[in-house]
Symmetry: C2
Subunit: 335 residues, 2 copies
Amino acid sequence: MKTHKLLMPLDMHLHLRDAVMLETVAPLTAYSFSGAIIMPNLVPPVDTLDAVISYKQRIMAAVPNDYFEPYMTLFYKNYDRAFLESVVDKITAIKLYPAGITTNSEGGVSSFDVEEMRETLEAMSDLEIPLCVHGETDGFVMDREAEFMSVYELLATTFPKLKIIMEHITTKAAVEMLDKFENLYATITVHHLILTLDDVVGGMMKPHLFCKPIAKRPEDLDALLNVALQAHPKVMFGSDSAPHPQHAKESCGCAAGVFTAPIALQILCEIFDHYGKLENLQAFVSDNAQSIYGICPEFKEVTLEKRPFVVPEHYGTVVPMYAGETIGWAIESVD
Amino acid sequence: MKTHKLLMPLDMHLHLRDAVMLETVAPLTAYSFSGAIIMPNLVPPVDTLDAVISYKQRIMAAVPNDYFEPYMTLFYKNYDRAFLESVVDKITAIKLYPAGITTNSEGGVSSFDVEEMRETLEAMSDLEIPLCVHGETDGFVMDREAEFMSVYELLATTFPKLKIIMEHITTKAAVEMLDKFENLYATITVHHLILTLDDVVGGMMKPHLFCKPIAKRPEDLDALLNVALQAHPKVMFGSDSAPHPQHAKESCGCAAGVFTAPIALQILCEIFDHYGKLENLQAFVSDNAQSIYGICPEFKEVTLEKRPFVVPEHYGTVVPMYAGETIGWAIESVD
């Protein structure tokens, strides 16, 4: 049977939530990943040193062993340099949300005034703290990411030493930015390597495939697949796995987010194998991220096997992508 | 209090379904409309004279009085002339579905071969039976209607005497066809005068606003509003009100269709009043349709009043658009 080994897989964009949901989903990621960048959009957001430390403690308490590193992030605000110096050893990145653009982002940035942001972004640049950005305007849903490219350009040129990660990119426009600006990087989810808007609303409407940014056009999917499959050195896997309870997805107003954490590596193997690019998956799910972030995860070796695997209908109250369906790869062992 | 009277309102595109659902929804339309074009996409489709007659009987039995005319349609197939001559007095139009494009359309047309369709369409042209068309390709969801324009062009130029109704148009591209081809007409729903894709998936995902064709871009909405508000003489109101039981909308695979029948006139008043065009609503909801179809509905006068109206959460098992919300106009009386 065909197998494939991945070393120290990293999920560079992950939502673990808190409390019962945290206890449900954290072990699923910790099982197969060496570490993950933990999103700070709790209610209230993670925006103090105490909040970072205590959230990390709650995550570690929810994880059954210590082979998993939660790379903590702060919720972006215009922090002063002294604060950033005090917190730099406890965080891996800072996550910027435009205000109100996605789940629990109400306290985010409401205008991209470079002068207001200068102290923070220069300090981050000096302290080598990457800036992770949810890059969407409040425009028409299919245009939001493409419209945000001018903000990326402004930030990238104004702060040329700041590492800026375009999170969960979904468009050809964002892919094209990677080779234009040295300090721009990107994460790509697994679902955005599979879906277009057709899958979400083209046939039946599929709430469990509804996410922000929404899946875009076929030509966008092609551009994303192209850089992921070649493991473009500025591109990393970040699942953006975003659990919501089933009732919040299957109702008259469905929350945004696709839950992929427990099946992400299996699906990635299936995609990369399908396109004959399995040899590039290691870079996409770990090596590129290690280089970009300068992190050294603890050893973990995940062996995947090409065999049918029926995705569970639920993980606790959460319905995963491909619930009840058969996918082509399974996790054989984790060492 | 501001009031507005509408005479003989007509819904030129309506789904009544059958059995219990028919009994739930037919009285709601019959209350405020003089008549409606009844869609034939039952299971099995309405494609025989017997089916037309018995469906009409079931509709009339479900309607509490006789002040409502169901204008019956046949499901398009390549019927021969003799059959069409035998049925012409019992139908008002024939509805063409591309195969598999929407609810219960599996038996529709799978290729637009003009020669295969010639006998039917020439007979329809001679017998003055309008052809109503669900105009979508099987392409990317945001492009399906625009891509279909070449089929409309082919049909309109090959059969210049055939009245062709572009049903439930949603794009600027379709609006622009109206002035290009003399024999092309259109229906527009009320929800497509309100929604863009933003309303469906831009914030929370809204299954009760999910329909086919899906709501498009802001510039498409502007184009639709423009021709509706001026009551362009080739444009008619057709609600495409499409009831599904609540469980089929709020689930992991939501059926397409917005249910607007009981609130359509109220919402139309609100829209036309908002834009200062109430004087054009009569033409949009009745006069244009009478001219285009050559029909003379029985007298009905609906008086609407500008006052808050709370839309019911349910009509039977069906959740309407704006369920539980307050709209700005209400039906005061029907005479």
